[in-house]
C-alpha cells in the first residue's frame, strides 16, 4: 500500500534520519519527503510529509517504532489512487447515460471518476464533458481508459485523450 504520513520532528540535528530509518528497516520504499525546515508547528516541532510504499501488516509496528524514538506521528493516510488522467468526451453524453459510463469505471474497484464538468449548449446539440479519472497505478489507469474507449465507441462519443508525456529517452 502507499502511505502518506505527516511526522513532527524535534528541531535538533539527526532527527530526519531517525524518522526515515524505521521505514527502510521494515522494507518500505520511500517515494517522497517534503521537509520544511523554516515552518514550525505551534509545538515547536518541524513537520515532514513523507510518502512511501509498505506492507499493510507492518504499518502499526512502524508507527510504534517512530513514536518510541521520539518522532511524532501527526497524520497517517492511505494514498490509494495515485495515477491520474484527464479526457474529454463529445457527443450525446446525457442521452447516452453518463451515470452508466461513470459506473463502468467506478465498478472496477481500482479506478474512479473523481471530477467531471459538463457543457450543454442547447437541447439536441452535442454536449462536451471533461473527466478526471484516478487509479491505483499506471497499469490500472490504462485498463480504465480501455473501458472508457469501448464505452465511447459504443455510444458514438468522440474521446480526446492526452498526448503521452512521460515518454523520455531510455
Amino acid at each position: 500500500m502507499i502511505v502518506s504520513m505527516t511526522l513532527e520532528l524535534k528541531d535538533i540535528p539527526g532527527q530526519l534520519v531517525l524518522a526515515l530509518a524505521p521505514i527502510s528497516e521494515l522494507h518500505g520504499n520511500i517515494m517522497s519527503v517534503v521537509h520544511q525546515h523554516d515552518e514550525k508547528t505551534p509545538r515547536g516541532t518541524i513537520p515532514v510529509q513523507i510518502t512511501f510504499e509498505i506492507e499493510h501488516k507492518v504499518l502499526n509496528k512502524l508507527i510504534d517504532r517512530l513514536e518510541k524514538s521520539g518522532v511524532g506521528v501527526a497524520r497517517v493516510g492511505e494514498e490509494r489512487l495515485r495515477s491520474t488522467v484527464s479526457v474529454i468526451l463529445i457527443g450525446h453524453i446525457v442521452h447516452s447515460d453518463m451515470g452508466d459510463t461513470i459506473d463502468r469505471i467506478d465498478s472496477t474497484g481500482f479506478a474512479e471518476v473523481v471530477d467531471m464538468s459538463l457543457s450543454m449548449p442547447a437541447i439536441e446539440k452535442t454536449s462536451s464533458s471533461y473527466l478526471v479519472i484516478n487509479a491505483v497505478g499506471e497499469k490500472e489507469l490504462s485498463i480504465a481508459l480501455d473501458i472508457l474507449r469501448e464505452v465511447a465507441h459504443k455510444k458514438d462519443l468522440l474521446m480526446i485523450e492526452p498526448i503521452r508525456q512521460n515518454s523520455e529517452a531510455a
Binding site: 484527464s86 464538468s117 457543457s119 471533461y130 480526446i160 498526448i163 529517452a169
Partner: protein, 332 residues
C-alpha cells in the same frame, strides 16, 4: 562553377515558388559555385523547354497572364525522358487515390537516370518502398523534404543532423489548416462550421476541406515519416484516423480551463500510426497555434528534439525543395 540542370514538373503554387526562389538566390548560389539551370517546365497544358536555361522571369509572367507556361506541346514525360538534365522537381498536385501523375513521373525520372526532388505526398503515401528502391537501384537521390511540414526540415534533421540516433517515436502537428481551425475555435469560442468558412475565405482551407479536416492529409504525412524513418512499408490506409469535425467550442473551453489545448496530433511509435485530436498541456512544445506545424522527435542519444515552423505556402515549401536540390548538387 558546377552547372546543375533541373526540370520543374507541375507549375502551380509550389512549382512557381521554386522558380521564384531560384531567381532570387541565383547570385548567392553562384558564389557557392553552383549554377542552377531550369531546362524544362511543364504544367497541365504544355511546356517550355530550353536546353540553355529557361528565362524564369518571363516563364512566371506568362503563367500569370495566360494561365499556363506552355510554349510547346511536349508533356511532362517528354521532358523527363528526352531533355538532358540532372534533377526532376516533381511538384504536381497530390492524388492519394492512385498517386498519378506524380508516380509515373517519378518512376520515369529514375529510369532516365535523373534524381528526384518532390513535394508530392500521394506517390510516397502509396508506394514509398518501390520509389526508394527504384532510386537506389539506379544510384540516384530521392529527396522529399517538402512533402511533410512545408518549410520544417524534418527529414534533414533526422537523417543528417541526428544521424547515429535511433528514433523511438515522433509526434507532431502536420496540418496547418486544422491547426488554424482549432486555434480559432478555442480563441473565439466559434463553432467548427463558422471557423471553417472563415478559413476557406482566407484561402487557408480548400473548398473541399475533407482531406484536411478528416485527418487524411495528416495520415499521408505520418505514413511518409513512418516509411522514411522507421523503414516501414505502410500506406495511409494503415493509419488509425480521427478528424476534427465533431469538436465543439465547449470542449475546447473545458480543455482551456484545465490548462490544455486540443490539437490534431500525428503519432508514430513502433508499429502504431495514429492521427487523432489530443489534449496537449498549454506549455508543452507541441502546443503551437495558428497554421504552424511542429514535430517532436524522441531519440535514444539526443533525447527529445522539437522543431516548428510554417507548414505550407509557396515560398516556404520551395525552401525545402531548394535545400534538397542543393544537397544533390553538392553530393553528386
Amino acid at each position: 562553377m558546377k552547372t546543375v540542370r533541373i526540370s520543374i514538373i507541375g507549375f502551380g503554387a509550389v512549382g512557381q515558388g521554386v522558380a521564384r526562389s531560384i531567381l532570387a538566390k541565383r547570385e548567392d548560389l553562384n558564389k557557392q559555385g553552383i549554377d542552377l539551370q531550369v531546362v524544362g517546365i511543364s504544367d497541365s497544358k504544355g511546356s517550355e523547354i530550353n536546353a540553355g536555361g529557361i528565362n524564369l522571369k518571363s516563364a512566371l509572367e506568362r503563367k500569370k497572364n495566360k494561365g499556363t507556361v506552355a510554349k510547346g506541346k511536349e508533356n511532362a514525360l517528354d521532358i523527363i525522358r528526352d531533355v538532358e538534365h540532372n534533377i526532376v522537381v516533381e511538384a504536381t498536385p497530390t492524388n492519394i487515390e492512385n498517386g498519378e501523375p506524380g508516380l509515373g513521373n517519378m518512376f520515369a525520372a529514375f529510369e532516365a537516370g535523373r534524381h528526384v526532388v518532390t513535394s508530392n505526398k500521394g506517390p510516397l503515401a502509396l508506394r514509398f518502398k518501390e520509389l526508394k528502391e527504384a532510386a537506389e537501384d539506379n544510384g540516384l537521390y530521392f529527396r522529399y523534404e517538402a512533402t511533410v511540414g512545408g518549410a520544417v526540415p524534418i527529414f534533414n534533421l533526422i537523417h543528417e543532423a541526428l544521424a547515429g540516433n535511433t528514433v523511438i517515436g515522433i509526434e507532431g502537428i502536420l496540418n496547418g489548416t486544422t491547426n488554424y481551425i482549432l486555434t480559432r475555435m478555442a480563441e473565439e469560442r466559434m463553432p467548427y462550421e463558422l471557423v471553417l468558412k472563415e478559413a476557406q475565405e482566407l484561402g487557408i482551407a480548400e473548398a473541399d476541406p475533407t482531406y484536411d479536416v478528416e485527418g487524411i492529409d495528416s495520415a499521408c504525412k505520418l505514413v511518409i515519416i513512418a516509411n522514411s524513418v522507421f523503414g516501414q512499408d505502410a500506406t495511409y490506409r494503415d493509419v488509425e484516423v480521427t478528424g476534427i469535425t465533431k469538436i465543439t467550442p465547449e470542449a475546447l473551453e473545458l480543455a482551456n480551463k484545465n490548462n490544455y489545448v486540443v490539437k490534431l496530433v500525428c503519432e508514430a511509435r513502433g508499429n502504431g500510426l495514429t492521427v487523432a485530436p489530443r489534449l496537449v498541456p498549454k506549455r508543452h512544445p507541441l502546443a503551437v497555434g495558428g497554421t504552424l506545424n511542429v514535430a517532436s522527435i524522441l531519440t535514444d542519444l539526443a533525447g527529445r528534439i522539437t522543431i516548428s515552423g510554417k507548414g505550407a505556402g509557396s515560398i516556404e515549401t520551395a525552401s525545402s525543395i531548394l535545400s534538397d536540390i542543393l544537397f544533390i548538387a553538392r553530393n553528386s
